[in-house]
């Protein structure tokens, strides 16, 4: 269609969303994304879903059980240290 009123569609937005969130788009590109979000609840929801996804990813670390390795690592270190000082 010759009447290309808008520069970015929803299908395009989902492909460049990471570029937008990473600040890798030039100002004109950023404005196109933002102008689209204003008129599109679907994309507004999609962007918020992506932000929620990133937020949830950040919560995984907190949810992990504490490392049981520390004692073994310390033991390993002390053996290495001892062998090293023996060796000169």
């Amino acid at each position: 269609m010759s009447t290309d009123v808008e520069h970015v569609t929803c299908r395009e937005l989902v492909e460049i969303l990471t570029d937008y969130l990473e600040g890798a788009l030039d100002p004109a590109g950023r404005v196109e994304i933002e102008r689209h979000i204003v008129i599109c609840r679907g994309c507004s929801n999609y962007v918020e879903q992506m932000r929620s996804t990133i937020d949830l990813l950040g919560r995984i670390a907190a949810d992990e059980p504490a490392e049981g390795q520390s004692d073994r690592l310390l033991e390993m270190f002390r053996q290495w240290q001892a062998a090293r000082s023996d060796g000169g």
Binding site: R11, E15, D19, L56, A61, E67, Q69, L74, F77, W80
Partner: protein, 224 residues
């Protein structure tokens, strides 16, 4: 265990890093403990992207630390200490994964070649014949309407972990370091030997898959 708010492994200034290396060479236990606290969690996460089994991943991490200590005299500082440690980990994890016969899902074996490039199914959008070609046909829903205990609950986090486990390893590496461990883009590029652009593409694909998995999960049992 580090507080979540503090991103793991912020690169120390060069002089801090030189002092740390020197202390390690002297056999300083406190220096080793500090190093483990900085990077241990991230190492575990990255190891898990290669070898699914948590116990095997722990062994790989253990071997990595030993290799770091045994190699500390030879570390020349051409790359950052963190980059060097993660390169050692990647090598060991890859070797171990091959040896273990890699019980990873099929998708992981494909590397990135399994991607068709589109991060959302084309049928979610209007087709060529429609007046709104390229716009949502089935729009994503508003997650802010979900109860907080659903969105932030243990089950949802478990689904996120499941989704990470199905990612190709390089996508998982980037996602884990960036979004789980909070590394900066430049740090991930250096540690994994990626260009900024490649790092971003991997991050994009990984995040998109996890979002899609979450959307699927949250819409399954969702009540209106």
């Amino acid at each position: 265990m580090q507080p979540v708010a503090t991103p793991a492994g912020r690169p120390p200034r060069n002089e801090d890093e030189r002092a740390l290396v020197a202390a390690l060479r002297r056999g300083d236990e406190a220096a080793f403990v500090a190093l483990v606290q900085s990077h241990g969690v991230s190492l575990q996460h990255v190891a898990r992207t290669f070898v699914r089994d948590a116990a095997v991943a722990e062994e790989v991490v253990q071997e990595t630390w030993l290799a770091v200590l045994n190699g500390i005299d030879r570390f020349e500082g051409r790359s950052s200490l963190k980059t060097w440690i993660f390169q050692i980990l990647s090598n060991r994890a890859r070797t171990r994964a091959v040896r273990e016969g890699r019980s990873a899902p099929f998708s992981a074996l494909l590397g990135d070649s399994g991607d068709d490039g589109a991060t959302v199914d084309a049928d979610r959008f209007r087709g060529e014949d429609h007046r709104w070609v390229g716009h949502w046909a089935a729009a994503p829903s508003d997650w802010s309407h979900l109860p907080e205990q659903t969105l932030l609950g243990r089950e949802t986090l478990a689904r996120v972990r499941d989704a990470i486990a199905t990612l190709p390893p390089r996508q998982a590496d980037v996602l884990v370091l960036r979004d789980v461990d909070g590394w900066e883009a430049e740090e991930v590029c250096e540690a994994l030997g990626l260009s900024t652009g490649n790092q971003r593409i991997l991050l994009h694909r990984a995040r998109s898959k996890v979002r899609a998995a979450l959307e699927h999960y949250l819409s399954e049992g969702a009540t209106a």
